[in-house]
Symmetry: C2
């Protein structure tokens, strides 16, 4: 008898481990066989389309994702009100290089948040810089009355392209205000893109005091051409005209669906992406993928009959791209309502093949999660460890939430990011589904942590 | 003085490690900054095009890759003669489902090695099976005089798509001869593809005695449609006509470039892919990528001034797709000439983002290599271990060569494999380059093993 008890005790953890493996296998099977994320993304891209904060598209996206989650019969689907910035591009931009008397058209796109040019556009000498230090060295004397051309490329030797992005994006975010300090009248920024092509990549910019000068992104091919021409003729002029405008803040919403926990309903696990997207394309990778994956996590857990211990929430955050109002509002309401958001996963790096998760928390919290890495290793998730999180879930950090960023492979992300190439066809069905399955498996692990 | 000696000794291994890291970083920087694999692939796809064994394209591919390696000034560039099978597709296939009096055209492609149909095609009842066992159970009575439709899909729940391929490809390779045993007059095989689309995927098949009946692949959409119609009307007929033919064996070549080793020139490290490709497309992933990556390995090592200890060879094997004559010939000549091919790396799983290497060798040999995994981990190569190799280098196993298969991410491979979608545009420049850099880094590690 004693022997039997001993054997039972010995086999319990093994049994539990096996059960975890079996559950995770079931999650993957469900999503890879009956997955619906791809068709949801198709609708979001093709029927809803671009959905910048404040736009008609954003409204439609709120209604659509709400209706999808209601159709799935989640325990509760609701909206959180949030006021968002409302920037509009207006008529398509025009730009050309004026090399002597030769006009060469180049593709540009106003940066989000930028002011318009005067009605007739701006024409002026253009001067190339690679850094803010170079700008400072040139100073007012060389910059005043000119357009500044920020042309430091993303570094192709960075293996993770987000590192290359981090090393270049200050030009887009702060370039205009930096240049304005020295009397520049416009800013043209090389697109945040590692490929040499004709797509201008827009993205957020901010004025930090001083003159508000118009700023636009130029395609990488356009930037290379302009740089070549400037080498031969430093007196080259540039013309651009853009018609963008910031309207009054508009009402909008975070969209939330949840499955109520059976044992600890007050403890919430968030899985989310952001519902808004730049106006130039369909926001397929950024961040339609993260939204449909988050919904798919709940759909799949429900489909396999899993009863979560904690409450699982899919959150479509509004306004990540140009304000982060949705993420901020979610965290504010969490504090106000004394909600315990114990874990939050964000998917906002594209619908690519999964690599892992980055975790932001104490060493102890990270260890608690990573002890189960062996469960996810068979699914190609080799990179689970410290570092990561996400913009929308960031504000939750102050409430003690452990933050996790889903990490898909980064190589192709900036081919599409904020450009008109970010369309449904750029997403691979299996890659998208494997991402959703990875997130669902991680939710399962988090739900079962003591 | 003693203290200094002690410190020197202590710092030596650290210095060596750092040197390895620095060299590998230089390899990646060279390939990610000055890489030429993508433009070589462009030429191979767009100017050479399809290059099935025995074709004009294959001849051009031999000349082109030889000229590229000569232009790079490798120490020696040479050809190995090899006779190869010469199968030709002839005029485009035709096929339709005959549902009562309704004709529905469907896309098919003759399987490589298949015989033609009679001139007027074949029209007969078609019967669906999912396995050879099912075929056996039906037997002569149910099969005789019919076309057999092999419709077992690749299993989408396999995480590595090559596992899904392995589980389904017998239908393509042996289906015709299996069906002929029971009196079938033709075989139609569901394409080896996880996506539901309109591309028929060709590929090798073999007759193993018995009647030689014509065999073709049908697109996955076509297969799904046919299966639906058969459910409603089991008397559905199928018509197909194909014009393929096996001509006498043709002369061809393996193409080899090498950099001679400075310390152990008689020990050879092979890095290779196969130069032939199916006739329907440009052979971009299969296996133009492996070829241009192999050339790039030598170009990059030379460009950074690395003097290899062993001889490094880039080998473009001929005829992997329908005969493996090139790989066999390379190994035969190695034996004949008492060559010491100590290590061989093959890249034949597409030009996708790198995951790792699979190694075939003794436990000790594998350990000798994997002790340096930490050098490659920062580059996303988390999966380096037992298992792998490659078809072309396979015959070298009997000479004691340690075999390594480069493992890129597998998710998108079968979207393109053997179909008209395998074109240059399906390859991402960075992913291709990272593959080449991973292979070059592994060559560096192998070259420095004791």
């Amino acid at each position: 008898m004693r022997k039997i008890v001993f054997l039972l005790l010995l086999s319990l953890p093994i049994f539990a481990q096996n059960q975890d493996s079996v559950m995770i296998r079931r999650i993957y099977n469900e999503i890879l066989t009956n997955g619906e994320a791809y068709q949801t993304l198709n609708y979001l891209c093709k029927k809803v389309g671009p959905r910048l904060s404040g736009s008609e598209g954003a409204k439609k996206a709120v209604d659509y994702t709400k209706s999808v989650m209601e159709k799935y019969g989640f325990d509760r689907v609701f909206l959180q009100d949030v006021m968002v910035p409302h920037w509009v591009r207006g008529a398509k931009e025009q730009a050309y290089i004026l090399d002597g008397s030769k006009k060469i058209n180049v593709p540009i796109a106003a940066l989000g948040g930028s002011v318009a040019t005067p009605k007739d556009g701006i024409k002026a000498e253009i001067i190339e810089v690679k850094s803010f230090q170079e700008l400072k060295n040139l100073g007012v004397e060389k910059i005043k009355g000119k357009i500044v051309f920020f042309n430091r490329p993303m570094d192709p030797t960075k293996i993770n392209t987000f590192d290359a992005y981090s090393g270049a994006v200050e030009q887009r975010g702060q370039g205009a205000s930096q240049a304005a300090q020295y009397g520049a009248i416009g800013a043209i920024v090389r697109s945040m893109n590692l490929v040499q092509d004709d797509f201008p990549h827009t993205g957020g910019m901010r004025y930090s005091g001083g003159a508000m000068i118009p700023a636009a992104a130029i395609s990488t091919n356009g930037a290379n051409l302009l740089s070549e021409i400037l080498k031969k003729n430093p007196k080259t002029q540039f013309y651009f005209k853009q018609n963008c405008e910031t309207l009054p803040d508009a009402p909008s919403h975070n969209v939330i669906g949840e499955i109520r926990g059976s044992e600890k309903p007050d403890e919430i696990i968030v899985v989310g992406g952001h519902l808004d997207s730049w106006d130039l394309a369909e926001g397929a990778h950024d961040d339609g993928s993260g939204c449909v994956q988050s919904i798919e996590v709940l759909r799949a857990l429900k489909a396999i009959g899993y009863k979560p211990k904690r409450t699982i929430r899919a959150v479509m955050f509004m306004n990540e791209e140009n304000g982060l109002r949705g993420g901020t509002k979610y965290a504010d309401l969490a504090k106000q309502n004394n909600e315990k958001n114990v874990y939050a996963i964000e998917s906002d790096n594209g619908g690519f093949t999964p690599r892992g998760f980055g975790i932001v928390g104490t060493e102890e919290q990270i260890k608690k999660i990573t002890q189960f890495n062996y469960l996810l290793a068979p699914y190609g998730l080799a990179e689970i460890g410290k570092g990561g999180g996400g913009a929308d879930i960031g504000p939750l950090a102050s409430t003690g939430t452990v933050l996790l960023g889903f990490k898909p492979d980064s190589q192709r992300y900036f081919d599409f990011h904020h450009a008109s190439s970010d369309i449904f066809e750029s997403v691979n069905k299996r890659e998208l589904e494997l991402g959703a399955a990875s997130m669902a498996a991680m939710v399962y692990i988090l739900d079962n942590l003591k």
